[in-house]
Every structure is written in structure tokens, then in C-alpha cells.
Symmetry: C2
Subunit: 351 residues, 2 copies
């Protein structure tokens, strides 16, 4: 009998965090590829590059000089998309042309003074220092200006993800209104919390921990898994076992566990094709300066573009842009692949 | 006085078709670029390529042989993401894991037997034949199966847009449920139509035709413009002046006018950086086999990725994926650039 099977048949899956459905076509991986092949960026960076505007002691676009920093280092983006001194105002022509001014602050955070050390190559202690800075920035940016409502901490890794400088770094964009994805995730989590008095992601995590089909790595405080509704081929999410709203609420022990799972997950990513694996990643956290958000459950998304190999990515193009996100491999298949890979980085292993 | 100015200050704009807001950062174009530079694909294709699976007389992946076609040619995709014989079924684990089977038909449409002729290089008559085939496919796919509710006609042009074969071609993906973008656009158009008894896009077009700030090309029956809420740097939309639901309702005269504006718009695109300009483009039309949709107004979106030059694109990455779509140049600036370019293709001009 030909009965419906998620492993074989085209289907849609619900993203419980956004309410959107994604299209999965499990049989489609066999199609031949005569299309674009990415070139691999050089992966033999020195520890210090005199021309890099993130290395210690070098000067930046605005003429200022980086301190001789020893851990991580944060500064206001010299080309911020959002500025604090934007005048308020709006436009409304018959409801058809609508615009509102938007202010905020954009920061850059260098993960370490070493030009060559991506997250998976930093020590757990090194990653823990980045986490401490993320937490401190989240707290202080919110405290600095009550008009700031949303703080997006993220990393674009690899030039294929639009990273404009290879020195390992992330960004923090904070702003006065809630961006689209945060609006969607707030609405969905709120509706669930009001109905069940429990965290949506907490309940989801229970289901995943029972089935274990999509779990990639787990420790005492965090789980990394391929979400049931993953869009990008090897998309994952880190979810905290404890239901907390943001990174400032983690204990020291939790922060060390977070550093440890970050290192293992990103090492598995690099091990997949034995390259520095590109992705965009970022934490989703409760809005700030906006009252209580008991519904919010901290998590971190990883959106990696590669599909078949180090040089062939998934294109989110015609159908995906005009109609609906679509993927070719199933979440379960991707999770199994990642789970089976060593947790130790291929470069550290070789040592 | 520093008053709010769309040309200078960061702001958000409402996409009236989806209800989403996009972030515009007009001052941000000055940032330096040390990131990824695209390689340009070869642009000297022969009229016939013996290895191309779309050229007349050649054989395809499934072993079948293309006819010696003289106009355009359509066939079922050998690697369809959607298949007609998918068994119905669904999964629901506590509302947290939800999936539904999805069926449909995916077709490929070769624009002409000539391997080298992209849309802007075809004659108006040649484009008119493609339009006739689009209309006939839209009609016959809907008629062939009452379960089909949505038909997405689109083109991925250029390898940077995931196009897997350089022979100019488009695709048609039809399916049983409504994809995300069509759901959003249906809801917004319906709400407006119920309130005003007029087409949302019709009223929007009036506002644009009065201001002319964002108009790129216009003829008796169609307007090509940069929408006020454009996300991609040189995003445009073709809107029909007459409020019709889909391509089958156009008169012969309208189809010729559509062919003509398609040629002019895509020629301007190629003229911008004097390359074969990549984009994903596609028509949005009313759902089929789904009763009347008087609210729907036919239109065609163009989503081109290039930002600064032929080799530097806009990356929709970290902030954009995790928070909100963002752009650096304003819609008005992009429209002015495109408007000022010749309507005749640089290659045809040189002849
Ligand atoms: O069907 P093609 O041309 O091989 O594939 C292309 O278009 C599809 C529809 O937008 C995308 O899903 C693919 O990622 C892209 O490479
Ligand atoms: O700020 P950067 O690193 O120069 O820029 C990168 O990240 C930004 C935020 O996701 C994007 O808007 C840019 O397209 C991308 O190139």
C-alpha cells in the first residue's frame, strides 16, 4: 500500500514559532546539477592580518584605532544600518504608501584577537567570554535607552553569507520597533502560553527528547536539534532546557554548558564537508523595555546555506521567494548526518 | 531643522500586499566591501548546445528526446518537487509536529529553441509566444485537475539565482494548497476590496502614476515600477492597468503590450551593469478552482540580487533572516537609475 510517508512523499510542515508552513520534497535530491558552483574561500588565515580592521591595534574606517584587546571586543558599527539620532516621523498616503522612521544602534563584536579562530576553534573558555559579552551587551543596550525594544545578536559566517571581513565576528542590531520575525514568534508563543500556561518550546523540546530523531547534541542544560520545520538543509536550533526569556538569566554553569554545545555543534558543521562551514546564526530573545514576556523561551537559530557539498548551496529563489520556502532533504535525514559526525573539530583532531 | 526624510533617515515601509514592513537604511551604501565577489558566468552562448537538455532534438535525464520545436516548449519537470500521485495524509503530534501531504505538478518551459536568447533578446513576437503558452498552461493545468488551487509561473535567471541550465527557461509549479505568499496577498487584497469595493493594486497604481517617482516604464496597458516597499535593490513589479485576476483574461492587444514592457524592462536590467542581469521573477495570480476572487489583481514581481555592481550582490543573511528584510538604497533612487537607462538592449544597440 502506498501510504503517506514523510521520508518519501512531498508534504508541508508547520513552523510552530512563526505559523508558516514549509514545503518538503524528499525525493528531489537526485536531480543533476549544471548550475552554480561556489569557489572556496582561503582557509589558512594568519593569527594577525595588518590589513584587517578588526585585529587589535589596527585602524578602522572612521580613523579610530582598535585597542590591543585580549579577549573579545565590541564597538559601534562604522556603517550602522540603524542610528540613534534618527528624527521621529511618518508618512501615510491613503494607507497605500506607509513609512515610519526607525532608530537603533548597530554594534560589531570581534570574538577574539586571533584573526584565524572561528567559534569551533576557540576553547570553551574563549567562547564563554563571548557569551559573557553577549549577555552584558544585551543588558546594557536595553538599560541605555528605554526606547529600544528589540536586540538581535547574530553572526554571518563565511563570505557566502555576506560576511564582509573574515576575522571571526558577530553583530548586534538593536531597534525601537519589533522586527518581523520577533513579532511572529511573540504572537505564537503568547497564544500557546495563554492556552497552556507552559512554554511552547519547552513542550516541543519534550516531544523531541522522547523521539530523539532530530537531536544533534545534548548536554545538561541545552539541546541542539534540527527543528521539525527546518527550511535550510542543515538548519539547527539550540534550545535551553530551562524556560528563560533571555541570555542574562543564565547561570554561570548554564553559560559554560552553552559554550560547550556551541563548540560541539559548530565543530560538527565544519566536519560535515571538512571546511569552515558558512551560516547565519542568532539568538531570539524576549523584547526588552516592554513589560513581562513570560511566554518567551530563549533559543538560537543556525541557517546554513550548503546543500550537497562545500560548493553547492540551496538556492532560495523563484518558487521560494514568490510562493513558499522549500527544502529537498528531510529534517530527520539531516539530523542523522550531523549526529553521526565527531564532536571534535577535524583540525583539532589532526593535532 | 533635522526633520524626517525618506531619502536620508532609516525607516520602515509597509508592503501593502503582504502586510510585512521592511527596513530601509539610505545612508548605508558607503560601507566598504571586503566580502564576496561573484564570478561572472560566460555570456557568449551558442544558439545550439549539443549537451543542453533543453535544446531541440537533444535527450533529457529521463531518456526522452526533445522535439525539434520552433517556438517555446513545455514539459513535466524530470525532477519535480511536487508530484500528482502523492498519497493524501497528515501527522499531528500535540499540535507541535504538524505535517500534511502536498501534491501538484511541476513543469519546465523553454522560451525558444535558441540556446542564447534570454527574454530581453527575444523579439516582441517571440515573447508574445511565451506569454501565450503561459496563459494556455495556466488554463489547462487548472482545468486538468480540480484539486489544483495555485499555479506559480516563474523564471530563475542567471546561475547566481540557482538556475541549473543556462538555456533561457522558466518553470510552473502548481499545487493543491495555497503557498505562503499567495495566502498573504489574498488576505490583504480581500480586506481592501471588501472595505473599498476597489482593487488594492489599482488604487496603488493611481498614486504611483500621479507621483511618477517610482515608475520605470509605462505603456497603454501596463506599468513597471519599483514598489514603494521594494526589498531587493532593483526590485520591480509589472502591474496591469486593467483589474483582472489572471493572465487568461488579457486581450490579444494586452498580451502584445505585456510582451513589449517585458522586453523593455529586462533590457534596462541588462543595460544597468552591461551583463545578462540575474533575477527571479514570477506572476502572482488568483487561486484557481476556488470560486471567484474579485479582489485579485494580476501582477509580476522581479527580485534581482545585484546591489553595487555585476559582481557584488545584496546578501539577505543574518539580520534579514533572523529579524527583518533590509535594504540600503531607496526605492526612488533605484527607480530613477532604471528609468534613465535606454529601453534598447546594449547588444541590440551595437548591431
Ligand atoms: O528546478 P531547478 O531549476 O533545478 O532549481 C532552482 O529553482 C528551484 C525553484 O525556485 C529551487 O528550489 C532550486 O533551489 C533552484 O536551484
Ligand atoms: O554589516 P556587514 O557585515 O557589512 O553586512 C552583512 O550583514 C548585514 C546584516 O545581516 C547584511 O545587511 C549585509 O547584506 C551583509 O553583507
Amino acid at each position: 500500500m502506498n501510504t503517506f510517508d514523510l521520508k518519501e512523499h512531498s508534504h508541508t510542515r508547520l513552523n510552530i514559532l512563526t505559523g508558516d508552513w514549509i514545503l518538503v520534497s524528499p525525493h528531489r535530491t537526485k536531480r543533476p546539477w549544471q548550475g552554480k558552483v561556489e569557489s572556496l574561500p582561503a582557509d589558512d588565515r594568519p593569527s594577525y592580518d595588518p590589513k584587517c580592521y578588526l585585529c587589535p591595534g589596527n585602524s578602522r574606517a572612521d580613523g579610530s584605532v582598535n585597542p590591543a584587546y585580549t579577549d573579545s571586543f565590541v564597538f559601534v558599527n562604522d556603517f550602522s544600518a540603524l542610528l540613534a539620532d534618527t528624527p521621529a516621523g511618518e508618512l501615510n498616503v491613503k494607507g497605500l504608501l506607509q513609512a515610519k522612521s526607525e532608530a537603533g544602534v548597530c554594534k560589531v563584536i570581534s570574538f577574539s584577537p586571533d584573526h584565524s579562530l572561528t567559534l569551533p576553534l576557540l576553547s570553551v573558555e574563549g567562547i564563554k567570554k563571548v557569551i559573557d559579552l553577549w549577555a552584558e551587551e544585551y543588558r546594557s543596550i536595553a538599560a541605555s535607552n528605554p526606547a529600544i525594544k528589540s536586540i538581535q545578536i547574530f553572526e554571518n559566517k563565511g563570505e557566502i553569507m555576506g560576511c564582509s571581513n573574515p576575522h571571526p565576528h558577530g553583530q548586534i542590531w538593536s531597534q525601537y520597533s519589533l522586527p518581523l520575525e520577533i513579532v511572529k514568534e511573540t504572537n505564537r508563543q503568547k497564544a500557546y502560553f495563554e492556552e497552556h500556561q507552559r512554554s511552547l518550546l519547552g513542550d516541543y523540546l519534550q516531544v523531541e527528547l522522547e523521539s530523539r530523531e532530530r537531536i544533534v547534541v545534548e548536554n545538561e542544560h541545552f539541546v541542539a536539534l534540527v527543528p521539525f520545520w527546518a527550511t535550510w538543509p542543515y538548519e539547527t536550533m539550540i534550545i535551553s532546557k530551562r524556560h528563560v526569556q533571555d541570555i542574562t538569566r543564565f547561570s554561570e554553569e548554564e553559560k559554560v554548558a552553552f559554550a560547550s554545545i556551541l563548540k560541539k555543534l559548530t565543530a560538527k558543521y565544519d566536519n560535515l564537508f571538512e571546511i569552515s562551514f558558512p551560516y547565519s546564526a542568532g539568538m531570539h530573545q524576549a523584547p526588552v523595555n516592554d513589560g513581562e514576556h513570560p511566554e518567551w523561551h530563549w533559543h538560537m537559530h543556525f541557517y546554513p546555506p550548503l546543500l550537497r557539498s562545500a560548493t553547492v548551496k540551496k538556492f532560495m529563489v523563484g518558487y521560494e521567494l514568490l510562493a513558499n520556502p522549500q527544502r529537498d532533504i528531510t529534517a530527520e535525514w539531516a539530523a542523522e548526518k550531523l549526529r553521526a559526525l565527531p564532536e571534535v573539530h577535524y583540525k583539532e583532531n589532526a593535532k
